[in-house]
C-alpha cells in the first residue's frame, strides 16, 4: 500500500486533528495506522478518524480504535452502510465514539 494511506491533519486553532484512512487496514499496515492515531493524539485530547474511504478493517484495527478511544475523545466518520459500518456496530465502537455518517 502507498504511504499516503493514513493522512494526519494536525490540530488547528479550533479543529481537532484528523486521521484520514483509505483502503484496507489489517496486520500488514497496523503499525502505520497506530502511528497515525498516536501522532494525531499527541497534541490533542480529541481526535477524528475518517474511515469513509476504508474498504476493510480487521480485528487489530478495531483494537487500535478502542485503544485510541481509551486515551482521547474519539470521533469517527463512517459511510452509511458497508463492512466498516457493520464492524463498528457489532463491536459497539459506534456507542463509544461520536459518529458522523457520510454518504
Amino acid at each position: 500500500m502507498t504511504k499516503g494511506q493514513f493522512r494526519v491533519t494536525p490540530a488547528g486553532a479550533e479543529a481537532t486533528p484528523v486521521v484520514v484512512a483509505t483502503g484496507e487496514i489489517d496486520l500488514a499496515n497496523l503499525d502505520e495506522f497506530e502511528g497515525a492515531l498516536a501522532r494525531a493524539a499527541s497534541d490533542s485530547s480529541s481526535i477524528t478518524v475518517d474511515l469513509s474511504e476504508v474498504t476493510y478493517c480487521d480485528s487489530a484495527a478495531v483494537r487500535a480504535l478502542f485503544a485510541a478511544a481509551a486515551t482521547a475523545k474519539l470521533a469517527l466518520v463512517i459511510p452509511a452502510t458497508g463492512p466498516i459500518t457493520t464492524v463498528l456496530r457489532i463491536s459497539g465502537l459506534d456507542r463509544i465514539a461520536t459518529v458522523t455518517v457520510v454518504d
Binding site: D58, S59, V62, R63, F66, A67, A68, A69, A70, L74, V87, R89, I90, S91, G92, L93, R95, I96
Partner: protein, 268 residues
Amino acid sequence: MPGPHFQPLAHPHLLAMLTRILERAEADLRGTLGTSVTVHDGRDADGPTVIASLGVGADMVGAQLSGLGGPVADALTHQIPVVALDLWTDERWPELTLDAVTGRAPARRGDWERVHGAAAVPGLWDDDATVVVSVTLAEPASAATVATLVNYEQLVAAALVTTAAETAAAFEDVLTVLQSRGAIEQAKGALMGLLGCDAEQAWTVLRRASQEFNVKLRELAVALLEHVAGAPAEQPDVAEHIAPDEPARKAAALLWSAMSTAVPQDDS
C-alpha cells in the same frame, strides 16, 4: 490435522494460571461482577467451552451461548472486540434480558440486577482455535475496559500457546500459531534478524534449543532477549514476569553464540 490436538482442560496448571490472570484482570478493572476465558477449537465438534471464570463469568457466557446472544457470542463469531454500555437494554441482543438470564441462573439474581456493562476480546491462539476473554461490570463499560482486556487476552493467549508448545503431542499444531506473542515472538524476530531466516525456521531453532537444553521455551525466549539486549526483556506490566533461571540463561548464551558464528557476518 492428524493426532490428538491440544486440550486446555487437560492441563490443570494452565487452568490455575488462567484463573490467576483473571484475578489480576479483576483487580485492574473497576466494578467487576465476573470474568471468563472461553475457547473454541474449530477442530472440535463441541461448541465453545468456558475454561476459567470468576464470579458471574461462566453463567454469563453460558446464557449467551445458549442462544440469547451477547458480547462473547459475537466476539467468537466475528473475531472483533465487543463492548456494551448497558447489556440488558442493548438492542444488539434483544433476547439477552435480565429476566431471561435470571431464569437460567436464579441463584445469581442479586448479581444480575447489578449488571451494566460488558466487554469481550477475542484472539487466535492456534491455527483454528479462538479464545475470548470477557468481563461483566456493575458499571458501564468503556474503551478503557476493552483496552485493559486486550492486555489480558494477550496474556491468556500466551499462556495457551506456551502450554501447548510444551506439550509434545501438540507441537505440530502450534507450529501454525499465527499470533504467538510476547517474548517468543520477539525472540523469533531476533533470530530472524541474525540468521536471515523466516519465522518458521526461527521457531524451529527456538524449539530445538528448548528441547536440547531442556529449558522451558518461554524462559529461553526471555533469556535470549535479555542476552541480546544486555538488559531485562520488556514484558507487559500485567504479566506475571518470566524470570529465566540459570540453565535458561546459559542455553540462550550458547544458542546465540552458536548462531552468530554459524552465520557469515558482515564485518564492515
